[in-house]
């Protein structure tokens, strides 16, 4: 009798998710990749509908940030970036930072925003925050056009070491997903989380070398920056694209290890909380 009801296909959620369930859960996520694609497209299409500029809004934010920050930090306060025009230096940091920041903000509200679906039909819930992050990957790719424009304008072509960018981005993406997942889940239990994320991101922005080079950080604060994956990644992006310096293998592996660990912990926490989602909405 006990064996007769083994489900032919697991469709519902798991009430007591534990570590051995991780791999099957990831396989199930892979099986539902088409849904992930549809959700991402839905986000993208819905993003700027009913606005006059439409998708052009994706460029307005980074462009305006670039103009105002360049004015403040190269005209009013002179931040030294030897050999690199400040606007280019800034934008190379702003692009990945905005990706990270927009991803976290959007992913945090993603499950709560799909409340009516979550209470009606089961699908792996992590698809919601992951789709929110993937949407920002597309936005990032689009805003990269501005970077290309800046390079042409300043006659500063990308270095050959730019080939490292995909690997750096992969590390960045895994890290971003790893933080997005538990935030999306926690936000269902405490609506404060979305506000907290906003505050944390503002502070984090200033503690990441986006508007200033990492060299100006005094030695005694170095640890703070070495523990900040965003700082390490943004510095690495700048080096490979603008300065032609390859990242050290040791640092890369370290970054990859931190990202993967963040993802595993984040994914686990998300799946642990998943069974209570419909109760909390």
């Amino acid at each position: 009798m006990e064996q007769t009801l083994t489900p032919s296909r697991r469709t519902g959620l798991k009430a007591d998710f534990s570590l051995p369930d991780m791999l099957p859960a990831l396989l199930e996520l892979w099986r539902r990749r088409e849904l992930l694609f549809h959700m991402t497209v839905r986000h993208l299409k819905g993003q700027y509908k009913q606005s006059i500029l439409g998708y052009a809004w994706t460029f307005v934010n980074p462009l305006s940030q670039m103009f105002i920050l360049t004015f403040v930090f190269s005209t009013l306060i002179r931040v030294q970036t030897p050999g690199i025009p400040y606007a280019l230096f800034l934008f190379m940091g702003l692009l990945p930072w905005n990706f990270f920041s927009a991803s976290l903000t959007s992913a945090t509200g993603s499950v709560a925003g799909a409340a009516s679906l979550v209470t009606k039909v089961y699908f792996p819930r992590e698809i919601l925050p992951i789709a929110a992050v993937f949407t920002k990957v597309v936005d990032l790719a689009a805003s990269s056009v501005i970077l290309v424009g800046l390079m042409l304008y300043y006659g500063h072509p990308p270095a050959t070491t730019t080939v490292w960018v995909p690997l750096l981005f992969l590390i960045h993406l895994i890290f971003t997903l790893g933080l997005s997942l538990p935030l999306a889940a926690l936000n269902l239990y405490f609506h404060d989380v979305s506000f907290l994320v906003g505050v944390a991101l503002t502070l984090w922005f200033y503690l990441t070398p986006v508007i200033y080079p990492i060299d100006i950080v005094p030695a005694r604060y170095e640890l703070l920056f070495n523990l900040n994956p965003n700082a390490l990644l943004i510095e690495a992006y700048r080096r490979v694209v603008l300065q032609g310096i390859s990242p050290g293998a040791e640092r890369l592996l370290m970054g990859l290890a931190i990202s993967v660990a963040t993802f595993i912990v984040g994914y686990y926490l998300f799946k642990r909380m998943e069974s209570g989602f419909a109760d909390s909405i």
């Binding site: 088409e34 839905r42 299409k45 819905g46 609506h191 404060d192 109760d279």
Partner: protein, 253 residues
Amino acid sequence: MRTASDTVIEFRNVSKRFRLHQGRTLREFVPALLKGHGFSEPFYALRGVSFSVARGETLGIIGRNGSGKSTILKLIAGVMAPTSGEVHVRGRISPLIEVGAGFHPDLTGRENIFMNASILGMTNREIRERFHEIVSFAELWEFVDTPVKRYSSGMYVRLGFAVAVHSDPDILLVDEVLSVGDIEFQEKCMAKMREFQRQGVTIVVVSHGLEMVREFCHRAIWLDSGHIMADGDPRHVVSEYERAALGPAPSTY
């Protein structure tokens, strides 16, 4: 005699407890937690409910609002976990998603069909193969490329129902939705559900429409405050429910 493999849904002593006002904000939660009552008092939506549904059976669940009907559907759909007891479900489930739940208002009918069908577990290939059938059933060819926010509520229901019934369900969950569409479409839906019945699809209906339960279901369960009050022949269960609902005031009065 029914063999065990014919059972597609089984509830074994299932209880579902909700904590009202769970979560909300840290400002409310932290002080309450420090005082030792982080959660407000629990509320039982289901208490020790056991039943099983055989393949091909059509079950109607009746009861007042808040009696636990929708909780049963959510447990079957796998969106909730029971507090205690076991829920076993076998097969592909298709819930008739409440009007508009799965739709993005800015996307067109076509885009929403792909989205919704994908949520129900269909692959892109399956959706493409059935796309024509889905749109024809919903009678929405003229509006298939119109954003669904311009749809009437009837059109919403038609689209939602059309997608759900074409997703090849083994188990169809129906929650009141049919009361919205026009009479003609309601009849079309009933015809489709009868076709499902003939094909051996298991159907669970939550309904206020007692007539529908009597006519359409093989079996009915009457729920009250999370308990099963009666389970069996729909005519019998419905009349018992009616007697209790319309009958004399409770004895404590």
